[in-house]
């Protein structure tokens, strides 16, 4: 018969163990703090103060005016030169990200109605180059506006509006992603290692000779780490709001609920790995290669799932983190879009139940 007092005793025992072991506190508290703080500040995909050089091969007033479009833009840190060779050598050393070349006879060509400007980009980081390319277009469009009748306005002009992220700050989607990364770390590393260690030391067998039931063992293992994980979550949410000013437009109850579900999934997966391998070394590599690495690459926290080939998009659906990432980004930035949040939470709930069931089955088999 299962008894509440026995389950409680197990939870107490496990909690004491967690509190005594400094390395689990490292994973539960120090690592989340470090990751969210250092990476939250460090990770950004926005380009600001891009070093560029404007080459004026014939410094006429028109050409200088074009250069000033770049100098006035807050996106660029602009140098002006008359030597293309100097610009090329700066580019080779990657001290600048782009060359804007205004060819000789620019003014004459402009007067004749067909002038040309070259934008040469340092392409190694394709994503950054693409962002800089579009900033450069914006700066050059200024010339049309300022140059009145001499350069005609484009027939069609685009007006961009970025919904959910008006500030165009990439941290707003990277920080929710970091929360996912941290929850995955807590779940994968903590349970995978700690339970495998019990198997190695034989203390798990010692538990089996007592009258405890598999469900109680499971409960005892989950509750302390779950609480530790929720502590980490609280830390993350506070940092997201207070340090990085990520807006929280959706319901906090839904956010915590989805996080709790994901945490159960992550812990359950870690437990399953350790119950199956029963070996610290193998468990840690399984957690790393089977859980952490694919979560990192396929969850969409950094690399958008929509950018991936169709097969990988399907594969990513098998990883719980992809649902959690989408739900978190939606709840933080878009609000309560129940069409997204509820189905994702349902999937997480199903996964949680399935993993708990699998864990109980494996434990029961070990007991027999």
């Amino acid at each position: 018969m299962s008894s509440p007092s026995r389950a409680l005793a197990l939870v107490m025992k496990e909690s004491l163990q967690v509190l005594r072991d400094p390395s689990s506190l490292l994973v539960g508290v120090v690592l989340p703090g470090l990751v969210i703080f250092v990476l939250g500040y460090g990770l950004s995909l926005d380009a600001r103060n891009v070093p560029v050089i404007v080459v004026l091969e014939e410094p006429t007033p028109d050409a200088t005016e074009l250069a000033s479009c770049f100098q006035l833009s807050s996106y660029f840190e602009t140098r002006v030169t008359t030597s293309m060779r100097e610009a090329e050598s700066l580019m080779l050393r990657h001290e600048i990200d782009a060359i804007v070349r205004v060819p000789p006879h620019f003014s004459r060509a402009l007067a004749a109605g067909d002038s040309e400007v070259q934008v040469l980009l340092h392409g190694t980081d394709g994503n950054r180059a693409r962002i800089i390319q579009s900033y450069a277009r914006g700066a050059l469009a200024q010339l049309q506006v300022r140059h009145g009748g001499r350069v005609a306005l484009d027939p069609v002009i685009a007006q961009d509006r970025l919904w959910f992220n008006e500030a165009n700050d990439s941290r707003h989607f990277l920080v929710p992603g970091l929360v996912v990364l941290i929850m995955t770390l807590i779940g994968a590393l903590l349970t995978a290692l700690v339970v495998a260690r019990e198997w190695e030391r034989g203390t798990f067998e010692a538990l089996f000779v007592t009258p405890v039931r598999p469900a109680e063992i499971l409960l005892g293992k989950m509750v302390p780490y779950f609480l530790l994980g929720m502590l980490g979550l609280g830390l993350c949410l506070l940092s997201a709001r207070l340090l990085f000013h990520v807006p929280l437009r959706g319901s906090i109850v839904a956010l915590v609920g989805a996080s709790a579900l994901y945490l159960v999934v992550a812990l359950g997966f870690g437990l399953l790995i350790s119950s199956l391998t029963k070996n610290q070394f193998a468990a840690s590599f399984a957690a790393l290669n089977g859980n952490f690495a694919p979560t990192f690459m396929l969850s969409g926290f950094l690399f958008d799932v929509r950018s991936m080939p169709a097969i990988l998009r399907l594969v990513s659906r098998a990883f719980p983190a992809s649902y959690y990432v989408r739900t978190l980004q939606t709840l933080f930035l878009a609000g309560n879009v129940w069409d997204v949040v509820l189905p994702d939470m349902a999937v997480l709930a199903v996964m949680a139940v399935a993993l708990l069931g699998a864990n109980a089955a494996v434990l029961r088999k070990s007991l027999a």
């Binding site: 402009l110 994503n127 690459m297 950018s307």
Partner: protein, 370 residues
């Protein structure tokens, strides 16, 4: 001198035997890095090949239809159910459309009268980077339309902008990511490898046995490092071959320069691993510390997000990060064909970091283990 060489070689042989005699260990060193490289090549990308979009056309004119035809021809856009004014926001909310193109009433009239006709592009900012890329594609469609319109209908003097991208003509992020992976993957594996191999000897008690033999501490460290370096070079070669042969990235620079840089980086990584091992009391701690060191090392290397976008303090701090210089070196040799003379900065950082790490590792080893 000769006997020392023999002793070190014997140690290298012992290290390699320990790792390679176990088929599971052998596989775990060879297979995951190759799979990781394949996965990374396809998954780690900021490129967009498919942009679901919706259209709200309030003008319903010949001109607006002509404008919208440009989206069909581009190959990346695919239209999701044409939405009314209320449906568009729902499509974005649910993530069914990445952007909505809204054409104002009077589009054609403005076009004909020379007043700029406005097109509103609303994009899903939940991933602002993807949104910016998609918006960039729309701008290219608009550019093409503008050029054609001018050619056919006239439109006054114009400023033509020609864009060219050096080193990566199609601005593919895959080249950047895979060459970056080549510069980093060996490092992660080597820190883990070195720290785990020492921690395992410690947990199993064989380190004490090793210490009572006539080997000197330096020889033990050197033997471990040399064995790890050999394994690391094999892993690096696997990644290199996948990048070159499977993904077809052309190597512009010299193989010799590439490998010299990578070898210095691997030596640094092994040193970090030994340092971690000297500081940890169990395999579990070795693994956790490895993670705590490598996670910021990789995420702040400049590969996933540019260094220039970090706060200034962190930009300085990354000068201590060997991964940054290794990735930079690999990319410059691989994609730009840089020779040793233009790699002085990268190489000097890597060599200095290797020297520093090894002094620290040696001292920690002597203090904590012997």
């Amino acid at each position: 001198m000769r006997s020392m060489l023999f002793r070190v070689l014997a140690l290298v042989r012992k290290e390699l035997l320990t790792v390679l005699k176990d088929p599971q260990g052998r596989a775990s060193l060879i297979v995951p890095p190759i799979l990781e490289c394949l996965l990374f090549g396809y998954a780690a990308t900021y490129d967009l090949h498919d942009v679901p979009y919706a259209v709200v056309d309030r003008d319903h004119s010949a001109a607006s239809r002509r404008f919208l035809a440009g989206f069909d021809g581009s190959g990346v856009f695919h239209q999701v159910s044409p939405a009314g004014s209320s449906g568009a926001s729902g499509l974005i909310d649910r993530g069914d459309a990445l952007l909505v193109v809204e054409i104002e009433a009077g589009f054609e009239r403005h076009l004909r009268s020379g007043v700029p006709a406005r097109v509103q592009i609303i994009s899903d900012g939940r991933n602002s980077n993807t949104a910016a890329t998609a918006t960039g594609y729309v701008e290219r469609v608009i550019d093409t339309f503008n050029a054609k319109w001018r050619a056919q209908e006239g439109g006054g003097p114009q400023l033509r902008v020609t864009e060219r991208s050096w080193y990566n003509p199609n601005l593919e992020t895959r080249w950047h990511m895979l060459t970056g992976l080549l510069g980093m993957t060996g490092g992660f594996q080597m820190v883990l490898f070195a720290s785990m191999s020492v921690a395992r000897e410690r947990e199993q008690g064989t380190l004490d046995q090793l210490l009572v033999t006539p080997f000197r501490t330096g020889e033990i460290l050197f033997g471990k490092a040399l064995a790890a370096l050999l394994v690391g070079l094999v892993q690096v070669t696997n990644t290199f071959l996948v990048a070159k042969l499977w993904f077809g990235i052309p190597l512009v620079g010299s193989v010799l320069v590439l490998y010299s840089g990578l070898a210095v980086f691997l030596v640094t990584a092994i040193g970090v691993g030994l340092l971690v091992a000297a500081r940890s009391r169990s395999m579990q701690q070795a693994l956790l510390f490895t993670f705590a060191v490598m996670l910021p090392g990789i995420l702040l290397s400049g590969l996933m997000t540019p260094i220039q976008a970090m706060p200034e303090v962190l930009q300085y701090a990354t000068q201590l990060n060997p991964v940054r210089y290794s990735i930079d070196l690999v990319q410059r040799v691989f994609l730009e064909g840089a020779g040793p003379s233009s790699l002085v900065s990268d190489l000097s950082h890597l060599v200095l970091q290797a020297a520093l790490v090894w002094v620290l590792a040696y001292r920690a080893f002597v203090r904590h283990l012997t």
